[in-house]
């Protein structure tokens, strides 16, 4: 969050685009409350409705659950393109083909840097990583957020993922993408959709 808006960056071909959350009463309330409490900074929206804020005053990996969200979530590009990431069905129009539903392996049409960084294992299970400071540096713990799923594992492979698994991003609406350019939010390929009902509830999440 900066300049009083919530935004996500898309790096494409050497330049970056700033996509912003579509203006709505909910988006304004989110921006205002976080801006007043924290003055801006990174914000993570999870498909289960959790709004998480990494604490800017902590260097020990502390994150705070600052609220919840529901309803439609739409990102708007600088040129006015709209992408409703809370919609389970995303339409795309790859070059030379008619408009159709997005498939595993397609380029993700929007930014992905705002998503939760996860690891997918060969069974298709998803793990997020949490960390806390320790006497030797930090301890990182992977905790499961979605069970193994043959279709998800296959989709990951179709998207070009490695047989031993790898890094993916879970976006706010439940879409799973695989970064292909750089870890900080470059281009991404579509893997699949994870229904929010498959994910742990906010209460489970906040124990980690």
């Amino acid at each position: 969050m900066r300049r009083g808006t919530a935004e996500a960056l898309l790096h494409r071909g050497g330049y970056s685009e700033t996509w912003v959350i579509e203006n709505s009463p909910g988006a304004r309330a989110l921006v205002e409350s976080v801006y007043i409490a924290y003055g801006g900074g990174r914000l993570l929206l999870l498909p289960n409705g959790a709004v998480i804020k990494p604490s800017p005053w902590s260097n020990e990996g502390e994150c705070r659950l600052v609220g919840s969200w529901s309803g439609r979530f739409t990102l708007v590009s600088p040129s006015g393109l709209r992408l409703c990431t809370s919609d389970p069905k995303i339409m795309v129009k790859p070059v030379g083909t008619p408009r159709r539903l997005i498939r595993s392996g397609d380029d993700w049409p929007g930014p992905s840097s705002q998503g939760l960084r996860c690891r997918i294992d060969p069974s298709g299970a998803l793990f997020a990583r949490t960390w806390h400071a320790s006497r030797w540096g930090r301890t990182e713990v992977d905790f499961p957020i979605a069970p193994g799923d043959v279709m998800r594992a296959l989709s990951y492979r179709l998207a070009g993922g490695h047989t031993s698994g790898g890094s993916v991003r879970l976006l706010e609406g439940g879409h799973l993408v695989m970064p292909t350019h750089d870890a900080d939010g470059g281009l991404a390929r579509y893997v699949g959709y994870v229904s929010p009902s498959q994910l742990p509830s906010i209460s489970v999440w906040s124990n980690h």
């Binding site: 030797w136 540096g137 930090r138 990182e140 713990v141 905790f143």
Partner: protein
């Protein structure tokens, strides 16, 4: 019956360039004779990559590693590492990825006979020559343990799976430790340890390797802009370094 050696309590160097590992391979000596299981290293020469076999007497080491590999994988040969504490560690495949086991301490210097592109016999070593200075090109074999110079250039860290405090140690599933030198020996000492690498790289940080002689070398963009060169950064100062991990008492020493 070979008893499985304990998990190593130190750093497990996963995801390493294949030139950064030793391996046991069945091959002949440099003269093309006497095929046997030997300690080898993959070496990058101008003509490409080739395995070099060690000429140093190392039958005990080969036999000990092969026994462990045979018991775990059902076949001899495979990768191993020797770190800056001269600990020999071997990755063994398990359901949760490679697990690193301590084999022994190895004090001998490996020497690799080699014919250079002019067909002249030379001996390569992983021990830095006394006349080497920081920023000199590292032309020798490159087995080593990867460390990361932290962004800012004032700290060094590595990541390794967490183990239990029990004896023998066990793997703590899904838990990783990021071990920062500054946390162990203080910020000033860590900055001193990092300075030689910072001088060759830059404050963005990045990967460098430390071999069994404590020599540090790091990949940088080659002077002509094509490819990667490895530059020597100096030798670690052991009083400003990660403490030596506890290992079991043993019988074999090189």
């Amino acid at each position: 019956m070979v008893i499985e050696p304990p998990l190593y309590r130190g750093y497990w160097p996963s995801v390493v360039n294949r030139l950064a590992k030793y391996s046991i391979r069945y091959m002949t000596a440099e003269n093309g004779k006497d095929p046997n299981w030997r300690v080898t290293v993959l070496y990058e020469e101008e003509r490409g990559l080739r395995f070099l076999a060690v000429e140093t007497e190392s039958d005990d080491l080969v036999s000990r590693i092969n026994n462990v590999k045979m018991q775990a994988d059902g076949k001899s040969g495979g990768v191993f590492y020797i770190n800056e504490y001269k600990h020999v560690i071997v990755p063994i495949r398990s359901h949760s990825g490679n697990q690193y086991h301590y084999i022994c301490r190895w004090d001998k210097k490996f020497k690799f006979p080699y014919r250079n592109p002019n067909n002249e016999p030379v001996t390569l070593s992983t021990c830095p020559k006394t006349e080497m200075k920081p920023n000199d090109r590292w032309d020798g074999p490159r087995p080593g343990i990867p460390y990361t110079l932290a962004s800012g250039g004032a700290d060094i860290y590595y990541k390794t799976p967490a183990l239990t405090e029990t004896e023998p140690p066990m793997l703590r599933e899904r838990m990783t430790m990021q071990v920062q030198l500054s946390r162990l020996i203080g910020s000033a000492a860590a900055a001193r340890a990092a300075a030689p690498v910072l001088a060759v790289r830059n404050a963005q940080g990045g990967r460098f390797y430390v071999n069994e002689h404590g020599a540090m070398f790091t990949p940088v963009v080659a002077g002509d802009g094509n490819g990667i060169d490895y530059k020597f950064c100096g030798v670690i100062d052991r009083k400003d370094w990660f403490p030596e991990p506890v290992v079991p008492a043993e019988a074999l020493s090189g």
